[in-house]
Symmetry: C3
Amino acid sequence: MVLKSYRKELWFEVPGRRGFVNITPQVESALRESGVREGLCLVNAMHITASVFINDDESGLHHDYDVWLEKLAPHEPVAGYRHNRTGEDNADAHMKRQVMGREVVVAITDGKLDFGPWEQIFYGEFDGGRRKRALIKIIGA
Amino acid sequence: MVLKSYRKELWFEVPGRRGFVNITPQVESALRESGVREGLCLVNAMHITASVFINDDESGLHHDYDVWLEKLAPHEPVAGYRHNRTGEDNADAHMKRQVMGREVVVAITDGKLDFGPWEQIFYGEFDGGRRKRALIKIIGA
Amino acid sequence: MVLKSYRKELWFEVPGRRGFVNITPQVESALRESGVREGLCLVNAMHITASVFINDDESGLHHDYDVWLEKLAPHEPVAGYRHNRTGEDNADAHMKRQVMGREVVVAITDGKLDFGPWEQIFYGEFDGGRRKRALIKIIGA
């Protein structure tokens, strides 16, 4: 087998501060475009106040994640974070992103994302209202 | 070097709600079966209420993880999570899994898992009592 | 394309208990040494009380991470963790490392780390004052 490589960017502009976007269909499209049958698929946020993670596509759960992350790393008081002295107000977003993770690596088997029954890939935005990107990188044969 | 690829599932039925299982020997077996000498080994939970992570095989530490995760994302009150309105009682398990992570990627060097002195791979169950899976995917040469 | 593989260790001795070290230049050097143009770059802590993660190189943020991690998983009281009965005092470091993560996987495109505008790679030490290592493993073509 000869090594193949494929790269694609996904762009987002999530309105409001926080939100979750199911990007599984876009990753599946990229995989088809790559022609890779066996390999690994990396999907990562290209920004440090956003996440890519795998979990369930259930709106109640996404609400729970939002409440829980805000409890673990509250946005307010903004002045409670030294990072915000730089003029930013997004220090909490840098924390939330660490809990949810920067990236996922997904196995590719027989030309498909090799997923369990409920796995879906999400872009998690914690400092929205601006254009931001995720990266898909596929290698294999 | 020609690209090789290998896939194997591990099955678990952890009694009770939560538990940690050392799966390092099974991953080492899969690596031998793959014949890969240089590459990457992905190990991921296929379920969204479970983790695969690397840490120490020390029972006191596992107790501490369990207590700590329950503090960060308590199981009770079950009705405190909107996800549980779907009839589930496992919303906390979806949180705990994000803290501990879905997957690990381990370097393969000279046909072995390229580990530091105490690294061991664990399957972390947060919603047990049912049959669930982890995936091993190895690519390399 | 023929598969290439490259391995390099980075050594650290962080004074004091905790600290963050920007290792992006060392990872870029390793990538140049590897000759890989398209592929994946794994960087992981080889110790279970340390992290490798990607975020911003801003000292205020690093201060905030330190305060936040100490709130999520306090070092004191040392006797509050069962793991510390083994004679260690670093149970909290095993928790902090799980929040920040063991590893990152970075896309390699056209011979470079395929990064967004602010992404930098850090070694995060949570139990310092001793020599410890991170591993770089690069595969691709």
